[in-house]
Symmetry: C2
Subunit: 540 residues, 2 copies
Amino acid sequence: MRTQVRTEERHNTVMDASRGDDGWITVVSLKLAPPSLRDNTADVDRLIKGLEKALQSTHVKIGLPAAKRVPFLLREYGYDVHSVLYREEDTWHLIDIQPASKEPQVYGLAVDLGTTTLVLRLVNLLNGQSLEETSFLNPQTEIGLDILTRIHFAALEGGLGKLQMLAIDKLNQEIENLAKRNGVSSEALVGMAIAGNTTMTHLFLGLDPYRICREPYIPAINKIPLLKASELGIRIHPDAPILVFPNVGSYFGGDLIAGILASGMARSDRLSILVDVGTNAEIVLGNRDWLMACAGAAGPALEGGVASIGMMAGPGVIDKVTTDPGSGEFLFRTMEDRPPAGICGSGLIDLVAQLFLAGRIDIQGKYVPEKCGDRLKEIEGMRSYVLVPAKRSATGRDLALSQAEIDALLRSKAAMFTILTTITGMANVSMSDFRDFFIAGTFGAYINPESAITIGMVPDLPRETYKPLGNTSLAGASVALLSSWARDEIQEIRNRVTYIELNVNQEFMNLFSAARFIPHTDLSLFPSVRTPVASQKYRE
Amino acid sequence: MRTQVRTEERHNTVMDASRGDDGWITVVSLKLAPPSLRDNTADVDRLIKGLEKALQSTHVKIGLPAAKRVPFLLREYGYDVHSVLYREEDTWHLIDIQPASKEPQVYGLAVDLGTTTLVLRLVNLLNGQSLEETSFLNPQTEIGLDILTRIHFAALEGGLGKLQMLAIDKLNQEIENLAKRNGVSSEALVGMAIAGNTTMTHLFLGLDPYRICREPYIPAINKIPLLKASELGIRIHPDAPILVFPNVGSYFGGDLIAGILASGMARSDRLSILVDVGTNAEIVLGNRDWLMACAGAAGPALEGGVASIGMMAGPGVIDKVTTDPGSGEFLFRTMEDRPPAGICGSGLIDLVAQLFLAGRIDIQGKYVPEKCGDRLKEIEGMRSYVLVPAKRSATGRDLALSQAEIDALLRSKAAMFTILTTITGMANVSMSDFRDFFIAGTFGAYINPESAITIGMVPDLPRETYKPLGNTSLAGASVALLSSWARDEIQEIRNRVTYIELNVNQEFMNLFSAARFIPHTDLSLFPSVRTPVASQKYRE
């Protein structure tokens, strides 16, 4: 028997990297004794025997499709082979065998199955290294941009099948291109892990999402069995296992479980919070002993959907605003250094924070004309602050922020802070107890905690507490692809999370009203925020 | 929760019928609480939870195809359902759900996958009762009657696929007819167990049989994983499990394991022997502590292939010959009381025994003219005994047995006895120690032990020791379909059987020569056989 080559776990997230073990997709290299009259064990049984010895397991299974190939391949490779296997519970399943004369070719795919965007990462399962990442529009957007439209479409004759086919076909096409670019054959793609919200997961699997959006909000399935590529029509190795993240419920999907997994918070003894801001703010807090989650509408103003100059992140989008200490002028950064065309959520938070710090808006967010000077204009009957004059903008129009847009942002930030206050109250912890404040999502990767604290969107914690994690759905899928312990942890997270429905009652509304000020009516909650003189004066 | 209905085990074989337990295909009936805002568990997870409680198991799995149906069906049936499941190791897998308002419809198929004939038995899995049995020609016989022709054909382009398709298509057609005749829907056929020799099993699964007949005689696979109907294209419930009996090796197939299972010998503390006589004599001996097996050419003369009047069992075939005590005339019985057309193996053994007892042949099997009278004729230059004169036969020709044909039968019986002597010697047991002498096969069902002992084909044991079992391949498949313990026992048998290659060495040939006499040169081995005066005289 030759040495065994096993997958090693590597990841780019904050999870405890010391927790090394073997992967659940692995390679065992062994040289079998060829059959003889004295040892006429059947080919498949011979391989199983060798693998059981190497893996110190009594549960190695070879399915019919692999069993058909094994006798030919064992002979072709002179009984000297790499066996690629995956483990499900106590049983190892053979995916394929490769000649021992070459390096094993063992790659996997991590997939973030987003409502709008799909992200695909090609990973070398032998060393955990990411080869390339690619993102593309979810082709289901041609049916409907939002989830509800797709759920309704799925109920039409052939609708569900069409939605599933759109996603699978596009994924197959992107996988093919990705593999080709990296010189990887489709047969060498031997595993996939995929995380999405509950509806996206249902559509991907061809499961009826009809009841997800109807009281009492019942998904068809929460815990998804390990599937095979051939079952789903995914054109990688037909026997490759497909791990689909489970849901907790209709409004808590596999993408969030992936986020918790990637953050490592479910294994940490530190109190942590994970915030994923999209259309909904999705929040998880807890530690290795408990996990609590909730979701609430908080984000529209942050996603570029409210401000007229608001945009999704992209070239020419202002993602950062600061104040020049000398001139007191606002400075901004655009993505890819293109002429400014709009502003994204993180830029907007920066801008409002800078407006406040310069005294150009007061603690209620109202413009202070004497501080704004000629930057303040009446546009379409509303006071608006011109950040970029028309002559310098990419659009040929002033990039300006109206009073109504500030009000919308402050409602969003107030909603966020109220949700944080409410959930921590329900969990009986204080926000000051958080040792890690994880921010998930592309948006979160750009956000400046200083600005978010300044406007009172998030609590006034030491700045290093804030940790942007980027695409945690993809990161979690990568962890699940590489680590043998991840699947147990996924189920554990799923079982442990207590999902809280937030009731918008009188107390919530009182908290919300108090949180609409900058940073808050209760300034003692934000001791580090310099309240400018103008605001203080206004307040007196 | 409602009462559980489980399959009960019933069988028609000699195995220990008191060993009752639940089947591995079972029905659990339960009424689930419908979902509500307070309990919004997903449909599939809700069913799994209910089943895990009912089965006191933490391993209930619902695959993707079933998961797609479950949400609809749970609602259609008001969350009050029969669940049909099968167990593999510790895990229960859902096959389907049915409305609790009706009796569960749960049927299975046992299949004897013979080289020449396929036999199909429809079984009610709730009470173990057999509804109907049907047999039909293996359509692969159109490619070749014998195994070797088919193995060679399988090596041709498309040959293996064609052989597999022939068997599956014919089986599907016969299943459809069988189910229709018995008012059973194809969806209610939820399991199948199938036993065949190693080559037939390979062809049925689409596995290359090429190396089975070539040194060192390596099957592609011995231990076959549990398959699903959809994997093989068998048109019963697509998620129905298909249990295929494993092989011990190229020359010891699943049909023999099924025979051992049906006989119960592997669980017995009595020393038993199981003999299956076809073209080869296949022999197993042992008890619950050990099992030894061998095979050897012994049968051609017994299968109707050697004697010119020899035939396979069928209408008009003489299957029994006795002597009228008064007249000393031979009496015979034909199948279905038709005019005699030939003689089958059991009739041939009877005839030779009666010829010997009447002194019409001597201990060497040579005709004694003075005893035969005008029954002895010269036909095509050879002494032949006319059992049925032309005028009374269905063929219009004398039904006669030539000296050469008797010699061939005696070689066959000598081979059989020699193999029995050799294998018992290797096992270090005496033939007189056998408490059960099981005879498998249709041929075995007709054989008269008295006659077989008289000619010295089998040992001189108390007649009640001989137990014809009929089609043990089908019986074993039925046991495997119904009994939860059978699958463990099948693997245990497979692991325990020691297969012995019989070497045709000098000692074997010496034994063979001694066994060519009637009943044997050593008369002390057959104390109960009356050696007629004429023979004794000849011997002196």
